[in-house]
């Protein structure tokens, strides 16, 4: 009886655990966050928690300069990282792939090391190296006659420095993706190009890169989402400082939720954050489909 019932409803019963899992751990928290974002839940306030409609959002967009600045900063950081990591990553991938030599696998493994390290540990080590007075980087700069930099401790250099740090850690991922993409390319187009007299640059520009484009765009999308969400290295190095100069959307949200205990306001920031990431992902997948068709 029961087994027949199960047989009949197999398509519902088997996915059920996964569906429940997703509802409990993903759908519910998102909906709960959306609900919180419509309240004034603040731990430090004597006012009772109540539904305030879109007040938090209105305040964010009309009366919160820190929010606007943090959005701008997040995009600067994200695109800065993307540009550096894509150029370096794809370039290094092409170089590594160009020639066979002994010990190539070892070189590959070494290049991947930064990616394996824990971000907070990486951040702590770089924090010491970036120290303007006692850090090793300024010492090296001075040895070769270059002026010292303030690195993380000046508003103007903190974002570029963080981009440098993030790129050091994550460029290997793009190298890895590029190498994987190169391995799947057919050899015929390259041979015919050579026969037709194309030089290396032309081959790369007109054949390799267009053929790699789908792979690279996946890598770029992954890095985009990750850079946009970057929290660990910024929190561990500057905590959003100096002043607010490296306060990205994620850090600002964290400040609101866990330093100011403004859970309602923090939730509305998270909803906006989620919408931006979702919007960008949908946009990229949509344009990719268009391009491929």
């Amino acid at each position: 009886m029961l087994s027949r019932w199960i047989d009949k409803h197999e398509k519902w019963i088997f996915p059920l655990p996964a569906v429940i899992f997703i509802i409990v751990l993903m759908v519910f928290p998102i909906l709960y966050t959306v609900w919180n974002s419509l309240t004034n839940w603040t731990l430090t306030s004597r006012l009772p928690t109540m539904f305030v409609g879109f007040n938090n959002y209105i305040q964010l967009f009309t009366a919160d300069p820190r929010f606007m600045a943090s959005i701008g900063r997040t995009f600067v950081f994200t695109f800065g990282c993307l540009i550096v990591q894509m150029i370096l990553g794809v370039g290094a991938g092409l170089l590594i792939d160009a020639k066979e030599y002994r010990g190539k696998r070892i070189v590959n493994s070494i290049l991947l090391l930064p990616m394996m390290a824990t971000p907070v540990a990486v951040a702590m080590v770089w924090l010491l190296m970036f120290e303007p007075t006692t850090g090793v980087l300024n010492y090296l700069l001075k040895q070769v006659g270059l002026p010292a930099s303030k690195w993380l401790s000046s508003s103007s250099s903190v974002i570029p420095t963080l981009i440098l740090l993030d790129s050091w850690e994550w460029t290997p991922l793009i190298i890895l993706i590029t190498l994987a993409g190169l391995a799947t390319l057919p050899t015929d187009p390259f041979e015919s190009a050579r026969v037709d007299g194309a030089n290396t640059f032309q081959i790369i520009w007109h054949i390799t890169l267009p053929m790699l484009a789908p792979t690279i765009s996946v890598g770029a999308l992954l890095r985009f989402i990750d850079c946009f969400k970057t929290f660990d290295i910024i929190y561990a190095t500057t905590g959003g400082g100096p002043g607010y100069a490296s306060e990205t959307l994620n850090i600002y949200t964290y400040q609101n939720a866990f330093y100011y205990f403004k859970f309602g306001y923090g939730s509305s920031l998270l909803v906006i954050f989620f919408s931006i990431v979702l919007g960008c992902v949908l946009f990229v997948t949509y344009t990719r489909k268009k391009l491929e068709v």
Partner: protein
């Protein structure tokens, strides 16, 4: 057989009587309490003694320790979730005290301490008890107190023939004279990180006659000439004579650079003293001097605060055992040891009056601290939304250190700060 039997009975009788006695000795046998502490020198002093407490009372102590911000975040989230197994925790009355009290998370310790003659609550200074009392509730037993003082390099000042600064103008002049950035030596250092700097900025603001807000009317006073003068002095010292990385410096980084002999003058909390003057931790122990915070137009107006207290969670399921731990940790005997041997600045009068209690403090440090006792009881705005207020104030100082228009920033900050105060009237 009969003999054997009676012998056995005798042994059982003896054993059980021993057990009864020990059970009376250890009324808490078998209980476990969870104690959440901060990564503080006080914790370092107490933690090794916890096994003694366990042997003494039979209470099993599960303790853990976190950085001060993580501690506050962890406790708050656990308390909100409502299923916290926390019994005893360290707390900062000036930072999270008002908020936690408002949310009803502190057990009123008057119920336990008031009638405990051996514990002697009145032995704690009146100021420290006042600091941990919120609307009649004794939220915590005071642990460490601190004042802002000036640390200086005796050898450098002597070498250059500069007297120890007694006023802020002299401090500025001395920092200027000692500053030698070409050789990586800097005149002055203090905290430059947005939020941590606020507490050490306070004595500058107070000494120029300023304050954060008027406590009668709840009017923000960040843009008054007095407060601005304090901010200007603090930020000019750091901008002109501070090390280049100062905007990312909390006290740990300040101490680091002072210990590396790269700075001449440094203002910060007196409780950091073990990090600088203890030869086992510091390279500059021999050559570091301590002086009273330099005077401004209003004199030397520093703070005298209770930085940490030991509290009991209101919903603790083991309150009697929790109190047993608190009264042991903050009792007279332990306080004498922690202050006398471990150089922590505690709040018990009897310990300060005992020569054993002050033997590890150098004379100049003790004099500077004694001169500051009874100063202002707050080093940050006394309110519930302290963290947000600190960010608002600290932002102005960061603007000033970076050479921006801090007066305009202060006007803007004053409006934001007022909005925050209006919520708490």
């Amino acid at each position: 057989m009969y003999k054997k039997m009676s012998l056995f009975l005798l042994v059982v009788l003896l054993l059980s009587s021993v057990m009864v006695v020990s059970a009376q000795d250890k009324p808490f046998e078998g209980q476990t309490i969870r104690v959440v502490l901060s990564n503080h020198a006080w914790t370092d002093a107490v933690a090794p003694m916890i096994p003694e407490f366990e042997a003494l009372t039979g209470i099993k102590v599960e303790w853990e320790s976190y950085g001060e911000e993580q501690l506050n975040q962890k406790l708050t989230t656990e308390f909100i979730a409502g299923n916290a197994g926390v019994d005893v925790f360290m707390t900062r009355p000036l930072q999270e005290g008002a908020n936690m009290e408002m949310n009803g998370w502190y057990q009123d310790l008057n119920e336990y301490a008031a009638d405990d003659a051996e514990f002697d609550l009145a032995d704690f200074t009146e100021a420290s008890r006042g600091a941990t009392t919120f609307s009649g509730t004794l939220t915590a037993i005071p642990l460490v107190t601190e004042q802002e003082i000036l640390y200086y390099r005796k050898d450098i000042l002597e070498e250059k023939g500069i007297a120890v600064p007694t006023t802020l103008d002299e401090l500025y002049a001395a920092a200027e004279a000692l500053n030698d950035p070409a050789n990586e030596f800097y005149g002055f250092v203090a905290r430059g990180q947005r939020s941590p700097l606020v507490t050490q900025l306070s004595a500058y603001v107070y000494s120029y006659g300023g304050d954060w807000f008027d406590r009668e009317t709840y009017t923000a006073t960040l843009n008054t000439p007095e407060t601005l003068a304090g901010i200007e002095m603090y930020s000019s010292l750091l901008k002109n004579f501070g090390p280049p990385g100062v905007l990312n410096m909390h006290w740990a980084q300040c101490i680091g650079i002072f210990n590396e002999k790269k700075v001449a003058l440094y203002t910060d909390a007196s409780s950091l003293y073990p990090n600088l003057l203890d030869p086992t931790k510091s390279d500059v122990a021999e050559v570091t001097g301590v002086a009273v915070f330099p005077a401004g137009p209003e004199g030397s107006v520093t703070y005298d605060i209770t930085a940490w207290g030991l509290a009991m969670y209101a919903d603790s399921e083991n309150k009697d055992a929790a109190w047993e731990f608190i009264r042991w940790a903050t009792g007279k005997e332990n306080s004498l040891f922690i202050q006398g041997e471990k150089a922590q600045q505690l709040a018990r009068t009897s310990v300060w009056n005992n020569p054993e209690g002050i033997k590890s403090f150098p004379a100049d440090w003790a004099a500077a601290v004694a001169a500051s006792v009874g100063a202002r009881s707050y080093d940050r705005p006394l309110m519930t939304a302290v963290t947000e207020a600190r960010d608002i104030i600290g932002g102005v100082v960061v603007t000033a250190i970076e050479g921006g228009d801090f007066r305009a920033a202060a006007e803007e900050a004053n409006v934001q700060f007022q909005a925050l105060l209006d919520l708490e009237k």
